[in-house]
């Protein structure tokens, strides 16, 4: 098995035919994917088959996860997936402008989201519907954005969940700043401390913003957990287009720990994120987590993944489904019976119906909303434009056109 350690450069003066200095493309891909065979690097507590693996390091972070709590995680993931599928269908039916599916990433998001404490802060990119769920940001609020009816529909301070960020990598800098503030304000240092978590993708790791966020967080010892969901793709580009090294190993160069977790294992994601957040809140931040997962659907509803990836890959990942392994574990250990699963399925159906109903009945924004919120205070130029625009619209009413 190739590993970056084997790519050492020859000593100065040695032959310049430094064949070992550069990994072959196959070695890069093998390194990036090492964990798909369950490499030593990967933290996993629940196998794809639903078997519990002991972890001397991480078991202690999930001792409270009994049958009831695991059922609750199962419910979270199931409802979030149902929401995701419903929203995807709503987009197909012309009810949403676009949808960004999270299918396949439920464990990473619910695991990380449920690891957060109320006062922790979270910075999402645009796919973190599962984290939003854990932060009590309602799916309805998310739909407002994707239906084009609303901008960010929640109060980021109250929800402790930053608005979605679509420009790749930007939120990492904002998160670094926020976490620095937590430290400067004295909210870090003991078990009651605060921490911040920032979500971004494998593609985002190529942006300068992410590098700068790493540097700032490290220099100021910020209580920031960088949570990279490596879903193997940045639209059509595979991870080897972004990195030679497994992403979690980048942390070392910045001087903080990096760890790779099975992103399809909700228990492992919960444990590892709790650990990382605890390290941060007690003053040992920042930390990098690479959640190794898979984007099972398109990048967005405007994308067609068959243009760039083989269906075999998807089929292989279906065997590692984040929800199915929990179902298997619950059933096998007698922690849930058929009634439970039927109950959750029924709840998911009702939930989907509610969402659909809410979505199609969402009011259109008022026309002059366009002029509100550009500045914090009214602007004379915009007020003039608003008045002009409203009188223009009135003209149509007069003409019977509206």
């Amino acid at each position: 098995m190739s590993s970056p350690e084997q790519w050492t450069h020859p000593q100065p003066g040695d032959s310049s035919a430094a064949t070992a200095a550069k990994p072959t493309p196959e070695q890069v891909i093998a390194g990036l994917r090492a964990t798909s065979e369950g490499g030593a690097d990967l933290v996993q507590l629940l196998t794809p088959e639903g078997e519990r693996v002991d972890s001397p390091e991480f078991d202690r972070y999930v001792t409270d996860i009994d049958g009831a709590r695991l059922r609750s995680l199962f419910r979270d993931m199931t409802l979030v997936r149902r929401f995701d599928r419903e929203a995807n269908a709503l987009q197909r039916q012309g009810q949403l402008g676009i949808w960004v599916p999270l299918l396949g990433q439920e464990a990473a998001q619910i695991g990380a989201g449920r690891a957060l404490r109320p006062m922790d802060m979270a910075f999402p990119s645009y796919r973190e519907h599962g984290v939003a769920w854990c932060r009590n940001v309602s799916p309805q609020d998310l739909l407002g954005i994707f239906r084009c009816s609303d901008h960010s529909g929640w109060d980021p301070v109250a929800a402790r969940f930053h608005p979605y960020t679509i420009v790749i990598g930007n939120q990492v800098l904002n998160a670094a700043g926020y976490a620095m503030g937590q430290r400067f304000d004295g909210h870090v240092g003991d078990d009651d401390g605060e921490a911040t978590i920032c979500f971004f993708g494998d593609g985002a790791t190529s942006q300068g913003d992410v590098h700068e966020g790493f540097v700032w967080a490290a220099v100021y010892d910020a209580p920031l957990v960088f949570f990279c969901q490596n879903n193997q793709w940045a639209i059509s580009e595979p991870t080897e287009r972004q990195s030679r090294l497994p992403l979690y190993q980048r942390a070392q160069g910045y001087g903080f720990p990096g760890i790779r977790v099975d992103g399809n294992d909700v228990l492992a994601c919960l444990a590892v994120t709790r650990w990382a957040l605890d390290e941060c809140r007690t003053g040992n931040g920042p930390m990098l987590i690479e959640a190794f997962t898979y984007r099972m659907d398109a990048h967005t509803t405007t994308d067609d993944p068959t243009r760039y990836r083989l269906s075999d890959e998807l089929e292989a990942w279906k065997l590692k489904d984040p929800i199915e392994r929990v179902r298997a574990y619950l059933s096998r250990n007698g922690l849930a019976d058929n009634d439970f699963f039927e109950e959750i399925a029924a709840e998911a159906d009702n939930f989907a119906a509610e969402i659909r109903d809410f979505c199609v009945n969402m009011p259109d924004p008022p026309p002059d909303r366009i002029f509100s919120e550009v500045y914090a205070e009214p602007s004379p130029v915009l007020e003039a434009q608003r008045a002009e625009y409203l009188s223009y619209l009135d003209g149509f009413v007069g003409a019977g056109e509206r």
Partner: protein, 333 residues
Amino acid sequence: MTATTDTREITYAEAVREALGQAMESDDRVFLFGEDVGTYGGAFGVTGDLVHRFGEDRVRDTPISELGIVGAAVGAALAGMRPIVEIQFSDFTAQAMDQIVNQAAKIHFMLGGAAEVPMVLRAPGGSGTGAAAQHSQSLEAWFAHIPGLKVVMPATVADAKGLLLAAIDDPNPVVVLEHKLLYKQSGPAPQEATRTPLGKAAVRRTGTDLTIVATGVMVSRALEAAEQLAAEGITATVVDPRTLKPLDEQTIVDTVTATGRALLVQEAPRSGGFMSEVSAMLCDSPAFGYLRAPVRRLCGLDVPIPYAPQLERAAVPQVPDIVAEATKLVREW
């Protein structure tokens, strides 16, 4: 190049792709890179099958890093190549601005002419596709403000091809701002690699009552408006500058001198916009003495592009807005 051109209808996106392909066929130094431009064929399908025709060495997918993309292009251009980069949305030139403004635009000057930066940056701009505030901007004024850059905004299928070919030939960095709404529009374009010279405006229609100067997607809206105005007895000249920098001031001045009225239409917000520059230029020019009316700008509202489709439409000039403004200008003055 032969004198007879074989013209047929293709889409704007196809015209861009054809220009890229012809440039790569005729010059080994030309190559492309950007995000998702390879197998995927570009976020808007512009690069299409080029990777299959020219291979991955000449059509490269890059890391998700716009600053890196433009920086690499500057380096390649300095080294004698003819790089063409695609920035997936023109909004993300913001990430690359240091390389565009402080490097690409200034190197030739700062090295006393010792090195040239013959690169092309292509980026789709504009609203109308429901892509919201960070994926819909019209940022041409940013680039037009920077000495050392050339800026073009192809408004027709033929120009999408011809201006790009001219940009690739040009020894300077050229920013080509394509429009997302135009990609699927069809129109005539020559089969040959015919250049549309930079710095030369096109008079798209002639009339006597006013001159409409429009850029980007506003050109076709202005032409549609002119059609409707003609039915009302108002005839308009429509000028498409095509190149914003260097601007063909003469054509604008001449046509405004002839009609005595100028309506300047852009999608970008009014404040600090490119049409403000055109307006000032007209007022500084001999055309001023022939004006029968104030120079009017019809622009996008001074707001970010909203996501809601009805608000998005309201935020930028539409055909009826142009008709109404033109009518007012002619009837009131």
